[in-house]
Symmetry: C2
Subunit: 249 residues, 2 copies
């Protein structure tokens, strides 16, 4: 087809985007963190668990189910800016947060209202940076995969995949697998650590994310080049004092 217009500005004047059906676009955000879970064994009182922030829906569709924090991307807003806005609303933390685009989810019928494409982001935060508790509708859920299925737990409340709205179980699983993959070859785990930590705590973070125990000697060899001793010690729970380390830049 030859061009009807002689110049780009003439073309643009006549172009009408509304001639074509367009989808809606949301940003959804996986906010991952590690937290100290109270174990059944007092010696394990500071054991780390791996958790994700979910919000209970108070509107249709999927009223009453749990979903990731998210919202529509403004027509003059980038998706990452929308993700930062939502992250700030939910946690009060906005800056110096590890935030990456995870994946774009676009199954045709993932939202019953209309075609909605979700650009999903993954944020990693150190919980000690949170200035306030989660919003009233929001809760931190410990997350784990059991035979490939997602299990979420917050106090007495246990969620399985069907308790989550839309395709958010799939988004969370995609995020967990990305994170597992990344902690093997990047320093991403340090974004969930406080400034100073013991090597035992760091190992627990790796174990919580990977969902399995790691042999201590091999783990310490792997991370030896990434940490520096602070010279300080921490008194543990029934342990002898542990050396405190920081990330080596």
């Amino acid at each position: 087809m030859p061009n009807k217009y002689k110049t780009e500005s003439e073309f643009l004047t006549h172009y009408n985007a509304a001639d074509f059906d367009r989808p809606s676009v949301t940003a959804d955000i996986l906010i991952f963190s590690v937290s100290s879970a109270v174990g059944e064994n007092w010696r394990r009182a500071n054991k780390k668990s791996f958790s994700v922030l979910l919000v209970r829906r108070d509107d249709w569709p999927d009223l009453g189910k749990w979903n990731l924090p998210g919202g529509f991307v403004g027509i003059r807003e980038t998706a990452i800016r929308a993700a930062r806005r939502i992250l700030d609303n939910e946690t009060g933390v906005k800056d110096n947060v590890y935030l990456e685009q995870l994946y774009t989810f676009d199954a045709i019928a993932r939202d019953p209202r209309m075609r909605v494409i979700s650009i999903a982001y993954m944020a990693l935060i150190d919980k000690s940076r949170l200035h306030h508790a989660a919003a009233p509708n929001a809760r931190w859920f410990d997350a784990r995969l059991q035979s490939g299925k997602l299990i979420l737990q917050s106090g007495d409340l246990t969620l399985k995949e069907s308790d989550l709205a839309f395709d958010h179980a799939e988004i969370i699983k995609t995020g967990i697998l990305r994170l597992r993959n990344k902690i093997e070859y990047t320093d991403i785990a340090f974004d969930m650590m406080p400034r100073e930590f013991t090597l035992g705590e760091l190992q627990q973070v790796y174990e919580a994310i990977l969902g399995r125990a790691l042999p201590t000697a091999a783990f310490r060899r792997t991370i030896a080049g990434k940490v520096a001793a602070t010279g300080k010690t921490q008194v543990g729970f029934g342990h002898r004092p542990s050396m405190l380390f920081r990330r080596k830049k």
Copy 2:
């Protein structure tokens, strides 16, 4: 806000997606391949280069510039299905092709017409599978990064970043960096190899993607577990016959 509606179906009946401004969504596809370049030295006649398929725009906007094959995603079509459709149109290859979602690009003004979000895909193909030459408007360009800038070359034609439409130089660079990262820890390079290849050819593919020479002995140790000898040999150009290998499944 309390819910106006008693049931999800009542809510859906009253929901109008057109109440909100929506972006347009395209799928753009990076089709990467390796090809044999004719070198200045006859002993290197089978040297591999790394290339990407580009199409010259014959319409506004950016008329005359080069861009990635792409198109709007249908309102009842997933983005990956759109990517496969475009891949098939451009190359005649559709099945058994490595295809992954690369990243979603959504800078506000990346398209002068309107807000357009591009879900970019990356395909890796072995050029020997192509049944026909590239479409009349399309050409394979050898791609390399020089001081972080993209240089594209096809015969006598050299393109720099400003010769590409939209933000496609950024998309191509993102794809090259993803691919460089992935060939280090996955078997992705084999998707660009014919069924049988010499270890020299395989090394050239790694070198073409990484943009640097690799020490042969170290390279062979790295890939030793991933290849199996076929027992056949190939007569090279002025070389002694080379053993042919295949990917070990």
